[in-house]
Symmetry: C2
């Protein structure tokens, strides 16, 4: 129950354990085609350029930047946590300029500040922001921010590593131009792949580049010759075959449940956890309206050593929760309720364990209230 | 029995199916430390910067180039197959100049040509070449080429994606400066990770860079803060946890067998396959002294449609062998005898199936001789 990797459904690990076949085997090509369709379902898009990158989410981020940005470009980057900072690094390593729009850690991206930045930088090519900030638990308004980008002739690039399948996302309906995610959050696969999708405007930008993409491994045009060729695919790199088995199974599970049902389940379990947390007298970092259901940042109460609590949860309860990152290091816990891990059992188990450990440490909480408060939400 | 991914030992897929734990879990940190030690054993090195990159071999190649090369540098690249060409692409995408040393597909890199190129380019920073060319089956002399590079003040960068664990390799003994490999060849893991190692000269070059590494994801200094920190590791990207379980188990299997025993097994099975192939009257692409035991390129006999043979082997015998790439497309088959797949059973099964399919197609071969010739080698 950390910030990811999340708990994996045994169906997914079983699928990953199947025999490794060749990455050009006809059966594998069929699997690739199904993965593309299933990812289109999860992203709510018909974008043809919808594939999993053969590396974790950070490589998906990099794939978006290196394909869309050229030296000398200007990109507006919203920073309200760790991953906005990583976006800035990516922009600069492409030889481009990043204009930062900063919000406090734990707050959603402020559309007013974004509009100002777009106005002041008419030569900007792209607006990049994080949908679901894993470092804080804040959810930003993808639809609104994308429409602002378009109003000023910019592409929108969205980090939805933690968002996909856990909270509403509609790539085509919201006209998102480029998006990347990860497998190890609300899809509940082991980490190692990064689903991405490029819309028609982004594909045009890639086709009309003046310079070669600086990464051979992440060059989208080379990748698409493998992922989207005719019957005979052009070998690019060797796909992580068994990870693809796992992703396929995870996406089948998502489709069985239904995307909207998955969002609703994440919301319900968050509501129950929040009721328990608040019954204990603990505070969320993020205000209610901007809170992600799948990533719950909770302020560590006065006088409690946060790492000691995590260590006891792991040792005594076999339960992992996350530490704070960056500006929130030492100040918060991050409790994940992602994908397969977003369940009533996990909510109650986590609240019970946290209550027990904090009570035992004589922390200033209302002991013994949390589990009952959460159970009331489920009734 | 293609050019990789190779057959995976069930112990490895079983290991990969274990529960996904956090990438900062103390138990995972212990696993990472063991993987580093086991990779040092496999590479025969004490290099501290010996880790698996969280993506396939092509990303390992890119990690070496983007960390060691800066814009304006000059790199001598030896090209005797597909992967030398990919190296050239990598050099150029780093803003550097590639000086090509070309040999025919199927031949080893010619040390005389390399020495000439080093002499004519005193400003070259690095010599890059492929140890085990997967596209042809040719083995080049890593020790000799590295010593030539050093004679002219250059670093040596070695692609041993297919070499590691299948044929002699001694990173420290041969003073190799940088090397990358893949998990899906002679280590017999599913694809998805790329073991790399940087020696002291390469580490110095990285430390003294004037520019930032163009890839954030592959920046070695950032990666080492995660892989080689103190008790508290700095989060970089989310490691592909289950792939690491698999790599760990594959390396334990290698250590149980013994590295030198693994090389000897690969040689023996190659000798048996070669005896069978030659008894059929078929020809190897690569001359005997430069032949890799783990990748056997065989010329398609006159009048035989190579893809039809592969299709029948796959459909009727559930046996994959590889097609030719690039200059050898349509002209050769590539038979892998890698890692777990390098076994007497596989050699005999492959020869029997190939003999049967070619005989049935009335190809010009000596039918019915191959299996007996191979069995004689094992006696």
């Amino acid at each position: 129950m950390g910030p990811g990797p999340s708990d994996v459904n045994p169906r997914v690990t079983n699928a990953m354990g199947a025999s490794t076949i060749g990455h050009l085997d006809p059966a594998f090509v069929t699997l690739m085609d199904e993965i593309k369709q299933l990812l289109q379902y999860a992203f709510k898009t018909r974008n043809r350029a919808t594939i999993p990158i053969s590396a974790p989410g950070s490589a998906g981020m990099e794939a978006c930047f290196v394909n869309l940005v050229e030296p000398g470009d200007k990109v507006i980057v919203c920073q309200n946590g760790v991953f906005g900072g990583r976006m800035k690094e990516n922009v600069e390593r492409c030889g481009a300029t990043a204009i930062l729009v900063q919000d406090a850690w734990g707050e959603a991206v402020d559309p007013n500040k974004v509009e100002e930045a777009l106005q002041s930088n008419p030569d900007a090519k792209m607006l990049a922001f994080v949908h679901a900030e894993t470092s804080t638990g804040a959810c930003s308004d993808v639809r609104l921010l994308t429409s602002l980008a378009h109003k000023f002739g910019c592409l929108s690039l969205v980090d939805s590593v933690t968002g996909l399948a856990g909270v509403e996302l509609d790539v085509d309906g919201w006209e998102v131009d480029a998006i990347y995610s990860g497998t190890q959050k609300c899809l509940s696969c082991p980490p190692g792949l990064s689903p991405i999708s490029f819309g028609p405007r982004a594909v045009e930008v890639i086709k009309n580049r003046k310079t070669k993409v600086q990464s051979w491994f992440l060059d989208m045009q080379l990748m698409m010759a493998y992922w989207d060729g005719d019957a005979s695919r052009t070998y690019h790199h060797t796909a992580p075959v068994n990870n693809m088995y796992g992703l396929h199974e995870a996406l089948v599970i998502l489709q069985e449940e239904g995307l909207e049902n998955s969002w609703a389940r994440h919301a319900l379990n968050h509501n129950a956890l929040a009721a328990g947390v608040e019954a204990m007298g603990l505070q969320f970092v993020v205000s209610k309206e901007a809170r992600l259901p799948q990533l719950n940042s909770i302020t560590v109460p006065e006088g409690v050593k946060e790492s000691a609590v995590r260590a006891r949860l792991l040792e005594d309860f076999n339960l992992e929760i996350g530490a704070g990152l960056g500006a929130l290091a030492g100040k918060v816990w991050r409790i994940g309720l992602m994908g397969h891990g977003s369940s009533k059992t996990n909510v109650l188990r986590c609240l019970g364990a946290l209550d027990a450990v904090l009570s035992d440490m004589k922390a200033p909480i209302n002991s013994g209230q949390a589990v009952a408060a959460a159970m009331a939400v489920y009734r």
